[in-house]
Amino acid sequence: MATVTSWVETLNAGETVIYPFVGTEWLWLIIAIAFWIVWHVRSSASETEENDELASKGKGSDDYKSNIANW
């Protein structure tokens, strides 16, 4: 349900909070924190996987030079 359905009524009433779903901020906060924590867990796991795969290649310190692209 829209917080504002008439600007005239909202402003005349002195209402200042105009974003949708006022009162559900706690729910959005929980979702946002969960997303943030999941991001750390998933990205860390992905990084470990990538590092392990690269480490297993046993490349030397100058091997990257053969991969320098011209574009």
């Binding site: 690269l54 490349k59 030397g60 692209a69």
Partner: protein, 457 residues
């Protein structure tokens, strides 16, 4: 807003901070360019991503809890007493309390027609948070795990710098009241703290492979792209202008604040003591120049150190640049650069610390020197216009420097890095460091290039 004049004042202040935020974004652009310029080709993309991803990570945590910490921790807790309501614990109310201004579920943390300042003020502080994290980012390039840096960035950007700002960079902060701490443009609360934090992390992280010879002699792994470094530093200088403006309150009637008869409109620093944007512009440029001149001399014209020294000059003079004479700012900037440069190489040789961009020197040592000098230069000045505050003094500023660099900088950086290291999560595997963090990206790009070229034959 009650009338046209108050509306103009509010909208001007809102726009003022918004402009500073946009300007300060250039600091981060500069840091990205600078770090890529210093890193080796095989690590460019990871270096860039590390510094880029601190933006969302510090931003969301600054929204979740960083801003709340700033407003909540002003009393230590139990080290000072708020002038707002006599409270000495967590400051949750009293007019400017954490739950009134910074609770992430509060209606004031969003589009609210009754408030025009909280969002832009939050953002201005947030950009300082990015800077704090970015200072650490440069020091640890080419060997730290991204996931470890993510945690460290949040720790310095949304927790420890927030605590130190609450203590020493707030009109009601206990360090200001009890110690007479004065740090108008954040020599300590950002630079010394982040520099100390970086040193704590580096102590545990260790040097890049090959940085030190077997007999302990340091080798120079210098900037690989001097042009990116140059443009990056110039962008940091540019953003620093915005930072200086953001540290001011652009227009405030200090009359009723201080109990004066009548009104007295002025720009003030973060402590609500008077200064002028014009005056600090003198000092910004003169301390930049003092730093550049000293850096050129002490490094014998080394471009990398000369550019960094411009920054270090400003950082050294920043604590008192709201009050110094421009010539004082110039000399103080030069002194800070000399000490920071010498300290960098002494610490590198003595403790085998590999600070890839000189961040600990430019921000940490220069910031500490700036605080100590400020204590002597501004000895006896009131730290606030409110009653009952200690005057600025050398002892208070030296204690403040220890708190900023050591207690809230080095110590947490060292402890968190130790924990991450103990879990095997701090440093990338040796084989990856040798191959280069970007090896897989580069290999895939080359394969794509070859495939496209084959189709075009």
């Amino acid at each position: 807003m009650e009338n046209e004049l108050s509306a103009l004042s509010v909208i001007f202040t809102e726009f003022y901070y918004w402009v500073t935020v946009v300007l300060m974004f250039l600091i981060h652009v500069g840091f990205c360019m600078y770090e890529v310029g210093v890193s080796r080709h095989k690590n460019h993309l990871h270096t860039l991503m590390k510094n880029t991803m601190l933006i969302p990570l510090v931003t969301v945590t600054w929204f979740f809890f960083g801003w709340w910490i700033y407003w909540a921790m002003i009393n230590g807790p139990w080290l000072g007493t708020s002038i707002m309501d006599g409270n000495s614990g967590l400051q949750l109310g009293g007019g400017y309390g954490a739950n009134e201004l910074a609770n992430p579920m509060s209606p004031i943390m969003g589009v609210n027609l009754g408030d025009h300042i909280n969002g832009v003020f939050w953002a201005a502080f947030l950009l300082f948070s990015w800077t704090a994290a970015s200072i650490v980012s440069g020091a640890v390039i080419e060997r730290i795990r991204m996931s470890a840096f993510a945690i460290l960035a949040i720790a310095i950007g949304s927790v420890f710098w927030s605590i130190d700002a609450s203590w020493g960079w707030h009109f009601d902060g206990w360090m200001v009241k009890v110690l007479g701490y004065h740090d108008a443009y954040a020599s300590g609360v950002i630079h010394a703290c982040a520099g100390g934090f970086a040193l704590g992390v580096l102590t545990v992280l260790g040097p890049r492979l090959g940085k030190f010879a077997s007999d302990g002699t340091p080798r120079n792994i210098g900037p690989r792209n001097p042009w990116l470094v140059t443009v990056g530093i110039f962008l940091i200088y540019t953003g620093f202008w915005g930072f200086y403006a953001a540290c001011n309150i652009p227009i405030l009637d200090v009359g009723p604040e201080y109990g004066l008869e009548g009104v007295y409109f002025t720009a003030t620093n973060i402590y609500a003591t008077p200064t002028t944007l014009s005056g600090i512009t003198f000092n910004f440029l003169m301390s930049l120049s003092g730093g550049l001149l000293a850096g050129y001399l002490v490094s014998k014209g080394d471009p990398f150190w000369t550019y960094s020294s411009g920054l270090a000059g400003i950082i050294t003079a920043s604590a008192g640049n709201d009050l110094y004479h421009p010539l004082q700012a110039m000399i103080i900037g030069a002194i800070g650069v000399y000490v920071a440069y010498k300290m960098h190489y002494w610490v590198e040789r003595k403790f085998k610390i590999d600070d890839a961009v000189g961040a600990v020197a430019v921000h940490g040592y220069a910031g500490v020197v700036g605080l100590i000098i400020c204590g002597f230069m501004l000895w006896g000045y009131p730290s606030s216009g409110y009653e009952g505050y200690a005057a600025i003094n050398p002892v208070g500023m030296i204690i403040g420097a220890v708190i900023m660099f050591g207690l809230l900088g080095f110590l947490p950086g060292y402890v968190i890095a130790k924990i991450l290291n103990g879990m095997g999560r701090l440093r990338i595997p040796k084989e990856v460091e040798i191959a280069g963090l970007d090896f897989n990206y580069m290999e895939a790009a080359k394969a794509d290039e070859d495939a496209v070229a084959a189709d075009q034959k």
